[in-house]
């Protein structure tokens, strides 16, 4: 990151960011969204621990039924990704308005209880070459945190980026994303971006 692409971004005050305001019963889940999901990830997809399949299989079966009773909403998705750091500013994607609550959609897919999460990102400037990296960070974050019944689509919001279509197509390509996740250098950058997520 030799030269900063957008040296002077617009920043939102933390108090202006959407939260689930004071719903006591939800507060534990909202403040620690990962907590409830870590158990609910039976996905061995990115798990290279040889012992994982034996240790997660009994858990996954009963956590599956718990998931059914507690649907995930767009605020929870927002909470998972808004704290990701921008790759060139010490700021979160939420405070830079790269991710916005109204641009997150959840819809059911088919009869199989599958759900599609669509996140439309708004790059800070229209030619930001980091859009792909930001999108990848969001996709990786959600795929790690959400149960496997979720399909994650990350797209660049129309009209906000000069190569929106290209970036969106890349982010939708499972094979490219999988290959990127095997790239140590890239994963190092992503790890830094995701360090601020709790």
């Amino acid at each position: 990151m030799e030269s900063i692409q957008n040296a002077n971004p617009t920043i939102r005050a933390a108090s202006d960011l959407p939260t689930r305001r004071r719903k006591a019963s939800f507060s534990t889940a909202a403040s620690d969204p990962l907590g409830i999901f870590t158990q609910a990830i039976p996905s061995p997809s990115y798990n290279f621990d040889p012992f994982s399949s034996s240790s997660t299989s009994p858990i996954s079966s009963d956590s599956d039924s718990e998931e059914g009773t507690e649907p995930i909403d767009t605020q929870e998705i927002y909470d998972l990704i808004s704290t990701i750091s921008d790759p060139e500013h010490p700021l979160s994607l939420g405070s830079l308005a790269v991710v916005n609550l109204p641009d997150i959609y959840i819809r059911p897919l088919g009869a199989q209880d599958l759900q599609v999460v669509t996140v439309e990102i708004t790059p800070t400037i229209t030619h930001c070459s980091l859009a792909t990296l930001i999108g990848l960070g969001i996709r990786v974050r959600l795929e790690r945190c959400l149960p496997p019944r979720f399909r994650v689509d990350v797209r660049v919001k129309e009209g906000t980026h000069s190569t929106a279509e290209q970036v969106t197509k890349q982010l939708g390509d499972k094979e490219r994303v999988a290959a990127a996740m095997e790239n140590q250098q890239l994963m190092g950058v992503l790890k830094k971006m995701l360090e601020t997520c709790q």
Partner: protein, 431 residues
């Protein structure tokens, strides 16, 4: 027509055991032995028996990243050769002497012992050589029908053709760079030395050798998004289509023979298309034939689209050479089976829809060739639970439950690392 009354005819028979420890990409059934090779993101290739559904051996330590694809060399006797394509930019060639393993693979009773067998067997695969050349992830690999040529494709936008020139010796005979983006898949014609490739640039390209040079002889552009998989029809599988003995049907069979095996393609655009070659003899009648005879370019047209059932990217299709049925699977976790049926009255309807100002010759061609429709004859949702399915393939059934030597199973490979075997019961439909 009968779509509303489709019976669930896909039944799970078994999960291959043990599964991969992470995403499994593809399972390639052996051309003549009852085994299947599964490649996975844990850099390992597992070889399973289709007789008892357990692992017989594994290949690991060769690739440094995901093994994305693999293919068995056809036409070998007493020996097996497997080509593996990896995200580490390399292609591996592995060999094994089959004679020592025949007993194990045909014997149904030696199942279950697992670990011991696995350790013993790890030595059996001999790493023959590595094919270096691609600049980035290799995504697909395919042997030509005779086994002379190997094609590989990569994110570096190129397709490489390699020729096996001697023991453990391969020569690069072509580097094809006309695709403008990642090449996702390659598939050789079942008989001719013709290669098809599908790409992130949404196109399918056909390649043939012309006076010592491999050149693109056709661009099939109709998909509106990445082409993920290609499958060729078997040499004579269309003969299985139920038919009436009508003159139309006889004409159709002749036309079918002239154009040869068709090509099926599936895409991120949720469509599966069937492509057909326009038979060459047409050009001979053309006054310009003297000029054209030098050209090896071919005209391929869309003959049909399969009923659209998938809601997300279709990652894989497989066309059974013995039954002519197609199976597809993808991100939505569904497995769908399609069958082609003869239909007398489609001739007219099809002509009406594409009644453009084309030449009378072309119109005749489309009239003669249409005459079938594709129907969904089997479907299952959530085949791998909530996980995506990366690959499906038809294979000969080899377990105790098989009812005939011709019976086939469907092998599906998923993000959960599991490989599942499905039976497809071909209950004959009431007329």
């Amino acid at each position: 027509m009968a779509n509303g009354t489709v019976q669930p005819r896909l039944h799970p028979i078994a999960d291959l055991n043990p599964p991969a420890s992470s995403r499994a990409w593809l399972s390639a059934p052996h051309p003549n032995l009852p085994i299947v090779a599964t490649c996975a993101s844990d850099k390992t290739i597992r070889i399973y028996s289709l007789s008892n559904f357990t692992q017989v051996s594994s290949i690991s330590g060769g690739h440094k990243r995901s093994v994305r694809s693999c293919a068995w060399k056809p036409n070998l006797k007493g020996e097996s050769s497997l080509a593996t394509a990896s995200f580490d930019s390399s292609v591996g060639i592995w060999r094994r002497d089959d004679t020592a393993h025949d007993a194990k693979e045909t014997d149904f009773t030696t199942g279950g012992q697992g670990d011991n067998a696995e350790e013993e067997e790890d030595e059996e695969w001999r790493f023959a050589l590595v094919l270096d050349g691609h600049d980035s992830e290799v995504k697909g690999v395919s042997w030509s029908a005779g086994g002379n040529f190997l094609a590989t494709c990569s994110r570096d936008k190129s397709v490489w053709i390699w020729e096996e020139v001697g023991d453990d010796d391969f020569e690069t005979i072509a580097v094809l760079q006309e695709h403008t983006a990642d090449v996702k898949c390659v598939a050789w014609h079942p008989e001719e030395e013709m290669l098809a490739s599908g790409s992130y640039d949404n196109d399918i390209r056909l390649w043939k050798e012309d006076a010592d040079d491999w050149t693109c002889i056709g661009v099939l552009s109709d998909h509106s998004n990445t082409v993920w998989s290609l499958a060729w029809e078997g040499l004579e599988s269309y003969k299985h289509i139920d038919s009436f003995t009508s003159p139309d049907h006889t004409a159709w069979l002749q036309r079918r023979q002239q154009s040869g095996p068709r090509l099926a393609s599936c895409s991120d655009d949720l469509h599966i298309k069937i492509w057909r070659r326009n038979p060459r003899e047409k050009q001979k009648q053309n006054p310009l034939s003297i000029i054209r005879s030098g050209s090896i370019e071919e005209e391929w047209v869309i003959e049909a689209e399969l009923p659209q059932r998938h809601d997300r990217t279709i990652y894989a299709i497989s066309w059974s050479a013995s039954t002519g049925m197609i199976v597809s699977a993808g991100s939505d976790g569904q497995i769908i089976v399609y069958r082609e049926k003869w239909q007398e009255d489609t001739l007219m309807t099809n002509n009406d829809t594409d009644g453009g100002p084309s030449t009378s010759v072309d119109e005749d061609a489309s009239k003669d060739i249409a005459g079938t429709t594709w129907h969904v004859v089997g479907e299952i949702t959530g085949a791998h639970g909530p996980f995506e399915i990366n690959h499906v393939a038809w294979a000969k059934r080899a377990d105790r439950g098989k009812t005939s030597d011709q019976e086939e199973v469907i092998i599906s490979t998923g993000d959960d690392g599991s490989v599942k075997v499905w039976s497809f019961s071909a209950i004959s439909e009431s007329p």
